[in-house]
Every structure is written in structure tokens, then in C-alpha cells.
């Protein structure tokens, strides 16, 4: 009611909300994260441009036979190709998340995909995001770490063109380094300098899945991170005991 004159007209009142618009996604992401942490699964959100080598990195990781139990879910606009490649490379637990026209995965899609795989006994779960350097950076999925795959053919200025993506990266894999001799204009040093302008603590591994360069450091990083998680969750075991009653 309009108080001034009693005319019965309604009032326009400003209401302070201050609410994160993606709080719904953040809630589901927290739920996923709790699942991963209690099961001792180290979850990685793997992001990068289309063709940067995300699937190739996962194939190489599976073929490295590290002893780590690996599972993967692949976001793909329309096909099951990536998951099929991963199953052939020795990741039996590889499922597709067909996103249709969506340009990114969100926490709900990841949560649904978990219902279609045996993930509790895994050491590592890779969530291979849709190939895109923009949208996936906005959505928390519940991962422990973000890994961004950047191939040397994409050019040294990608980090400063896509600062949101690289700011969120815990590790950048610089891939396809076997092609460097064919890229006279590409300077790794300039690429690392650009990363330091968008990442406060840039961590990188220079690698080639063709020559095997960097693969050892990558596997060591995965093992170290998985171990660190396992220590954080002492209840982690692959046999789940339930109390009677």
C-alpha cells in the first residue's frame, strides 16, 4: 500500500539480494566434491580448445600403466567418439556425456554421469570437458584440480586471450611439443611469460604424447596429488564396511 496518500497503489521497493547466480551449480558441485573426497577419488576437470589433445593425453595416461585406476567421462556435443577412444586405450570406465548444444559441462551433468559408472573404486577420475576455452571455466564441477591442455600450435598468446580459463588452471599441460621444429614463430619462453600474467602460480608440464616427453612428470604429478588426497581422507578404502542396523 502507498503510505503517503492511501490511494491503494502498490510500491516499488528495492530488495538487496547479493546472491551468486550460479549458487545452484555450486551446491551440486559441493555435493560431487564430497562424494569424491569421501571415496578418495582424485577428480580432475580437464579443459582445453577442441583439438588441443585432451583425449590424447588421457590415452597416453592410460597406456603409461601407472597402476592408478583411472576412469573418465567425456563431454561431447554429439558423439561417443572420445569415450570410445578411451575405452580402446584401456579405460574401461569411460562414459560419454552428450551435451547437445551446451558448450560446457555443469555439476548436474557430472552428477548424472556418476550414476552410469563404477567410480567409487577409482584413484583418478578425469572429467574431459567440452573443447572450449571460454564457457567451461565458469562452472565448478566438484573437481579437486583444473588441468588445462594447451597445444603449441595454438600460439603463445592464448593465455592472455583467455585469462578466465588460465586463471583457474592448477596445471597447464603444454602439448604437441614434437611439432615445435615446424613452428619457427612459436616461443615456449613467451608462452610461459604470458601464463605468468594470468596465473599467480603457473605450473606447467611440457609434453608430447608422440615422443613421450613429459609423460613421466605428468604421471608423477598425478600420483603425488592422489597420494596427498588419500592422506586427507584416512577413511578411504576400497572395502566399504557398513555398521549393522
Amino acid at each position: 500500500m502507498c503510505d503517503t496518500c492511501g490511494c491503494g497503489d502498490s510500491d516499488l521497493v528495492p530488495v538487496e539480494v547479493q546472491e551468486r547466480i550460479l549458487s545452484g551449480n555450486e551446491r551440486t558441485a559441493r555435493h560431487n566434491r564430497e562424494h569424491f573426497e569421501e571415496a578418495g577419488v582424485f577428480a580432475i576437470n580437464l579443459m582445453g580448445s577442441p583439438g588441443s589433445g585432451k583425449t590424447a593425453v588421457l590415452e597416453a595416461t592410460a597406456r603409461a600403466r601407472s597402476g592408478l585406476r583411472i576412469g573418465a567421462m567425456s563431454g561431447d556435443l554429439a558423439t561417443d567418439n572420445d569415450a570410445e577412444r578411451l575405452r580402446r586405450a584401456g579405460i574401461p570406465d569411460a562414459v560419454s556425456i552428450t551435451t547437445g548444444s551446451a558448450c560446457h559441462l555443469d555439476a548436474e551433468l557430472v552428477h548424472k554421469a556418476l550414476h552410469h559408472m563404477e567410480w567409487r573404486d577409482l584413484d583418478l577420475l578425469f572429467v574431459e570437458n567440452v573443447g572450449n576455452l571460454v564457457c567451461p571455466a565458469v562452472y565448478d564441477l566438484g573437481q579437486a584440480e583444473n588441468v588445462v591442455v594447451l597445444s603449441v600450435t595454438e600460439g603463445e598468446d592464448k593465455p592472455i586471450k583467455y585469462p578466465v580459463m588460465f586463471r583457474k588452471a592448477d596445471l597447464v599441460l603444454i602439448t604437441k611439443t614434437d611439432l615445435l621444429p615446424h613452428l619457427p614463430g612459436m616461443s615456449l619462453e613467451a608462452l610461459l611469460d604470458n601464463l605468468a600474467r594470468v596465473m599467480p602460480e603457473p605450473r606447467t608440464i611440457v609434453m608430447s604424447t608422440l615422443t613421450g616427453e613429459g609423460l613421466e612428470s605428468w604421471i608423477a604429478w598425478l600420483e603425488e596429488r592422489h597420494q596427498a588426497r588419500a592422506v586427507l581422507t584416512p577413511a578411504h578404502g576400497h572395502h566399504h564396511h557398513h555398521l549393522p542396523g
Binding site: 500500500m1 502498490s10 510500491d11 516499488l12 521497493v13 528495492p14 530488495v15 538487496e16 539480494v17 547479493q18 546472491e19 551468486r20 547466480i21 550460479l22 549458487s23 545452484g24 551449480n25 551446451a102 558448450c103 560446457h104 555443469d106 571460454v134 564457457c135 571455466a137 565458469v138 562452472y139 585469462p163 578466465v164 580459463m165 586463471r167 611469460d193 605468468a196 600474467r197 594470468v198 596465473m199 599467480p200 602460480e201
Partner: protein, 113 residues
């Protein structure tokens, strides 16, 4: 184009706030978007224009407050210029983003009886 799905989430938020307060309509909303939020204000406005039809926000203008990226030293709090190396020039500690990643619904002007 994740702006569309963020606008959908925004409209859901506004509707539930409005319902909670028994609002008759929504006159205006204000949103904060950080420079490093990953949301493009122009695309966001376009998506809003498309999606607000036949919702409570049909007649509600959206104001976007853009928030510049502000990097500061994690240890001593000294501001660090964007574009440069993200380390403190004084103590060499890594920078921390103090603001500039907001995707926030700040205010709703609603018509109440």
C-alpha cells in the same frame, strides 16, 4: 554461449525471491559481472532480452555493474597491476584476485502490495 544458461539461472533466482516476498511484478534488477567472471556483458544482455519474455521479468530492465579485476599480493595486500606478472613487486608472493570474478544478482526492485 554459457550466457544463456546463466540468464536462465538468474530468472529462476528472481522468480523465487519475488514469490517469497509476494511481489506483484519486478520493475528492475541489478547484476554485478566481474571482468574475469567469464561472462560477457553484451551477450548476457542479449540473452536476457530473449529469455525475459513471459516471465516475471518481462517488464524489468536489467542494469549490469561491471567490476574491474583487482589483483593484490596474497601476503602483503599490495595492489598488483593487471597485465603484468602476477607476483608482488615488493615481496614476490603470488597475487590473489580480490574482486573481478563476480556473477551476482545484487538487487531486485519489486512491486509489492
Amino acid at each position: 554461449m554459457h550466457e544463456y544458461s546463466i540468464v536462465e539461472a538468474l530468472l529462476r533466482r528472481v522468480e523465487s525471491e519475488a514469490r517469497l516476498r509476494k511481489a506483484l511484478s519486478v520493475g528492475r534488477i541489478r547484476v554485478a559481472l566481474g571482468e574475469l567472471s567469464g561472462v560477457d556483458p553484451e551477450l548476457f544482455s542479449t540473452a536476457y532480452e530473449v529469455f525475459r519474455a513471459r516471465t516475471l521479468c518481462e517488464g524489468a530492465e536489467m542494469e549490469i555493474r561491471t567490476v574491474p579485476a583487482l589483483w593484490v599480493c596474497r601476503a602483503c595486500g599490495l595492489p598488483i597491476a593487471p597485465g603484468g606478472i602476477l607476483r608482488c613487486p615488493a615481496c614476490a608472493s603470488p597475487a590473489r584476485l580480490a574482486s573481478g570474478d563476480e556473477i551476482v544478482l545484487e538487487q531486485i526492485e519489486m512491486e509489492v502490495a
